[in-house]
């Protein structure tokens, strides 16, 4: 049955918009019913909530839910809204998809929409005493002068719920008790891979609860995007997940090209795909280095960095940048590949294949490493899907979720590669997924590197683009999961709203589920194996 018919069968008055993505518009009072039916559908449950995008349409506030099925990989977007701007309430879906717990907090933080039934309605990124909701269009930019005071984190949070008589009430939920031994892991900590803070309640060495506090490097990239022209918005994507800089930018370029109807050349597609895969190898090598270092093995750390350096050199020659390359452009890539690019990439892959054995010898086969990783931090497949932990983390739990396979873009439908899936769901599986993916990426590059066709590397585009009105989205498989771009355009030269699906936010959210009952040393190893990058979470 077609998804449209299915929604119409549940709620006959649903209207559909097809400007860009297929969008089902459902009023708030019927939204829960539709969401529940889609989630628990027998043949094709929409069990993966890709993202919740808050939106301010002026007359109404609302959210768009991007859903996907983990069986058929069908996608649908649901839109719901409320017109009461002062007391904006929407029903929560955090009991259907766990990832909504944290994503609804994000929407609340930026738009002030309170979700009925979400047990935790604190702000996610901004200070608790922040005035106003910054992504609303009527937000006064001067309402929050620089505050130099220390921020006290509340131990109590609000939950709003609907009484049977239709009134809204709130109750207090306790995050940490007075008696809990709460240790701050972060924001300045060697192993959080950035300025993330995890308030961790301990019982001796055992973890009781983890409460991640985000936002220490929140830069308001989504807000900034609303005043930048489309080519200007590109510059910020590299600064999200800096280890997936190419892929992030690829996603945004794809989204804009799709919306503006720009066809890019075959050559540019080849270059983009190769660059994406090089970036993936780069990121996974860094993953290896950081994981072993988090576990106290300092020597393998240098192995990973030695090989990563070679990739960065290759990047530097062609793009001019090492960490942040600014390479993808709307309509193609910034510059043609360097004449030695192909030879260097081939030499690198040959070298990598010869040294990868050392990696496994020193770490993978090490008895301590195996004891520290095997059977530790198990994430079940159901939890992985519900928490939306895409990428290697999800695939280690047996959830086949590779965007490159299921929604191919660029050249991924033309190359032959295996999707690495493990079923154990423990730290070791997460580690092995990445190590195997390095080899798969090498395999992909080898198929493409000799066949780059001649042609333009970039098609000419107007410096100021106007994108037709509508809602657009695109997704790529970045180094650590599905990176999505969600664009709402009103036909202007600047986006009305541009939202990114953070790959790391679900991973950080999953920390609590994965780590409970494990030791504090495992927290670090599990964090390393989940592989999150903070700038991408905080945006």
């Amino acid at each position: 049955m077609d998804i449209k018919e299915k929604i119409s069968a549940i709620y006959p008055d649903a209207s559909f918009s097809e400007q860009g993505d297929l969008l089902a518009i459902i009023p708030a009072e019927h939204f829960r019913e539709v969401a529940e039916k889609l989630r628990y559908d027998n043949e094709d449950p929409m069990d993966y909530l890709r993202d919740i995008v808050g939106m301010d349409w002026g007359e109404s506030l609302g959210t768009i839910y991007y859903l996907e099925s983990s069986r058929s990989y069908n996608r649908i977007a649901l839109k719901t809204f409320t017109t009461d701007r002062d007391n904006a309430y929407l029903p929560s879906v955090c009991d259907l998809w766990k990832t909504a717990e944290i994503k609804e907090r994000e929407v609340f933080d930026f738009f002030g929409i309170r979700f009925l039934g979400n047990p935790d309605m604190r702000r996610l990124y901004l200070r608790e005493n922040w005035i106003g909701f910054p992504l609303r269009k009527d937000y006064d930019m001067n309402s929050n002068p620089l505050d130099m005071e220390n921020e006290e984190n509340a131990d109590i949070t609000d939950e709003y719920y609907l009484n049977p008589d239709g009134t809204i009430a709130d109750k207090k939920n306790i995050i940490f008790n007075q008696k809990d031994f709460v240790v701050n892991i972060g924001p300045q900590h060697p192993s959080t891979h950035g300025v993330l803070r995890m308030r961790t309640s301990l019982d001796g060495e055992t973890i009781n609860k983890i409460d991640p506090i985000c936002g220490y490097i929140h830069r308001g990239i989504e807000k900034m995007n609303e005043s930048l022209t489309y080519p200007q918005t590109l510059a910020l994507t590299d600064r999200l997940d800096y280890l997936s800089a190419h892929q992030n930018r690829h996603a945004l370029c794809m989204c804009i090209e799709k919306a503006a109807g720009i066809e890019i050349s075959e050559r540019a597609q080849y270059i983009r795909t190769i660059m994406d895969e090089l970036q993936r190898i780069d990121s996974h090598l860094l993953f290896y280095s950081c994981l072993v270092m988090d576990m106290g093995g300092l020597t393998p750390f240098f192995y990973g960095f030695r090989e990563r350096e070679m990739i960065l050199d290759i990047f530097e020659e062609t793009t001019g940048g090492r960490l942040i390359q600014n390479y993808n452009m709307i309509g193609g890539v910034q510059a043609d590949i360097h004449p030695t690019f192909q030879n260097k990439v081939k030499a690198f892959i040959k070298h990598l294949r010869s040294v990868i054995k050392d990696y496994h010898d020193i770490f993978t086969d090490n008895v301590i490493a195996i004891n520290r990783l095997k059977g530790i931090g198990i994430l079940s497949k159901e939890d992985a899907i519900s928490l939306g932990t895409t990428g290697g983390t999800g695939r280690a739990s047996g959830w086949s979720n590779d965007v490159r396979k299921h929604h191919p873009y660029a050249l991924y439908d033309k190359v032959d590669f295996k999707e690495i899936v493990y079923n154990e769901g423990d730290s070791f599986a997460r580690y092995m997924v990445r190590m195997d993916e390095i080899m798969e990426s090498c395999h992909i590059i080898e198929q493409l590197i000799d066949n780059i066709p001649e042609g333009e590397f970039k098609v000419k585009t107007k410096p100021i683009l106007r994108i037709p009105e509508g809602t657009y989205s695109s997704a790529v498989e970045s180094s650590r999961g599905e990176f999505g771009v969600f664009l709402e355009s009103k036909g202007d030269k600047v986006p009305y709203r541009l939202h990114y699906r953070s790959t790391g936010l679900p991973l950080v959210h999953a920390m609590d589920t994965v780590c409970r009952g494990n030791k504090i040393a495992d927290l670090i190893a599990i964090g390393g194996s989940l592989d999150f990058v903070i700038p991408d979470i905080d945006r």
């Binding site: 106290g296 301590i368 504090i520 495992d522």
Partner: protein, 366 residues
């Protein structure tokens, strides 16, 4: 057995001569006081110099393992002055006083750690006649003195009034106390073989062959157990849970700065040296040269190498072994560390002790 070389090594005539010369110009009490002072200064100097050598060695060794060069800028090509420069830096750094710490214990803790380290350091048999602290239960004294260091670590972690240091201290307390069992039992194994607790006497007894050869299988097993447990005692990777940089930032000494931190750092390296030194003494013959029965020419050449070179050579060999382990293995988890000790090492060392006793009783040792 020809033991003439023992006299060749002996520096007792020199020390006796110094003592007699001093006594001829001053009362004996003053002479002994001056000698003690001189020995004390020498111990502290050696302590500092060895620490510098060890830190430099660690940096170069780990660099070699990690495909790096290591220090190479300060002081010419080899970076020889890098560590002295760091020492000067740490000496001039401000000592931070914590507001809510237990002031007395917080200040006392680094001194306890360094005291334990220097006490055990003084017991090492450097050369024939060059023992500094000599008593007939020397090895027992070493075990007892080294335990003071644990007290220092526990106090440091507790008095800093910080959660990280607290976890680090508790971890290290649990770990060190556990591993002392294995160390004690393996040391007892060697005492059993030597029949004495006097460190100098243990070395003398190895004149006709090092203990690791004399005690064959049980001695080799004991040596391996001692290395593992000693590594844990020295708080070094893969047993460096008490510091566990990636988990607890710096563990028990997170809140220390300047030379107070320097004391911990110094003690850590010297404990590595002491652990190795005791291993060299108990298993590898201390300052005794390597003799292979039957090869008289070879043995004669070996005899010309002074005892202190033998001792330092063996000790640094063990130090290298421990560094090799540290820079290869990832860190264990606290429960795995304790499981390893209580379920495997301790029972095994007890078995080794029984085997060794049986061997000694039935004369199955060389």
């Amino acid at each position: 057995m020809k033991q003439a070389f023992l006299n060749y090594y002996d520096i007792t005539p020199v020390t006796t001569w110094i003592h007699e010369t001093l006594c001829s110009v001053m009362p004996e009490g003053l002479a002994i006081f001056l000698e003690s002072l001189a020995v004390g200064v020498i111990v502290l100097l050696m302590y500092a110099i060895l620490a510098i050598i060890l830190i430099y060695m660690e940096r170069k060794v780990c660099a070699a393992f990690q495909c790096r060069i290591g220090p190479n800028r300060v002081g010419g090509k080899g970076g020889l002055l890098q560590v002295p420069a760091d020492v000067i830096k740490i000496l001039t750094k401000e000592i931070i006083h914590l507001k809510r710490a237990d002031q007395l214990l917080y200040a006392l803790a680094p001194f306890l750690v360094i005291l334990a380290s220097i006490l055990t350091f003084s017991c090492l048999p450097w050369n024939n006649g060059a023992e500094i602290l000599h008593m007939n239960i020397g090895i027992l004294f070493v075990l007892a003195a080294s335990s003071i260091g644990i007290l220092g670590i526990l106090l440091a972690g507790w008095s800093s009034n910080s959660k990280y240091t607290m976890i680090g201290a508790v971890r290290s307390g649990a770990m060190l106390i556990s591993y002392e069992l294995s160390i004690g039992i393996t040391v007892l194994t060697m005492v059993m073989l030597s029949g004495t607790m006097d460190i100098q006497q243990i070395v003398y007894n190895q004149a006709d062959g090092w203990n690791i050869f004399k005690g064959h299988i049980p001695a080799i097993l004991a040596f391996v157990i001692y290395l593992i447990a000693g590594n844990a005692e020295a708080n070094r990777g893969p047993f460096d849970l008490a510091e566990a940089e990636q988990e607890l930032t710096a563990g028990y000494h997170t809140e220390y700065s300047g030379i107070h931190f320097g004391f911990f750092y110094l003690a850590e390296y010297l404990n590595l040296f002491i652990t190795s030194g005791i291993a060299a003494t108990l298993f590898l013959g201390g300052w005794m040269p390597l003799h292979i029965p039957g090869l008289d020419g070879f043995n004669a050449v070996m005899d010309y190498i002074p005892g202190i070179v033998w001792f330092l050579g063996k000790t640094f060999f063990v130090v290298f072994l421990l560094m090799w382990i540290k820079w290869t293995f990832p860190r264990l988890r606290i429960d795995q560390v304790l499981t390893l000790e209580w379920k495997y090492l301790m029972p095994l060392s007890l078995i080794v002790l029984v085997i060794m006793t049986a061997c000694v009783v039935f004369g199955l040792v060389f």
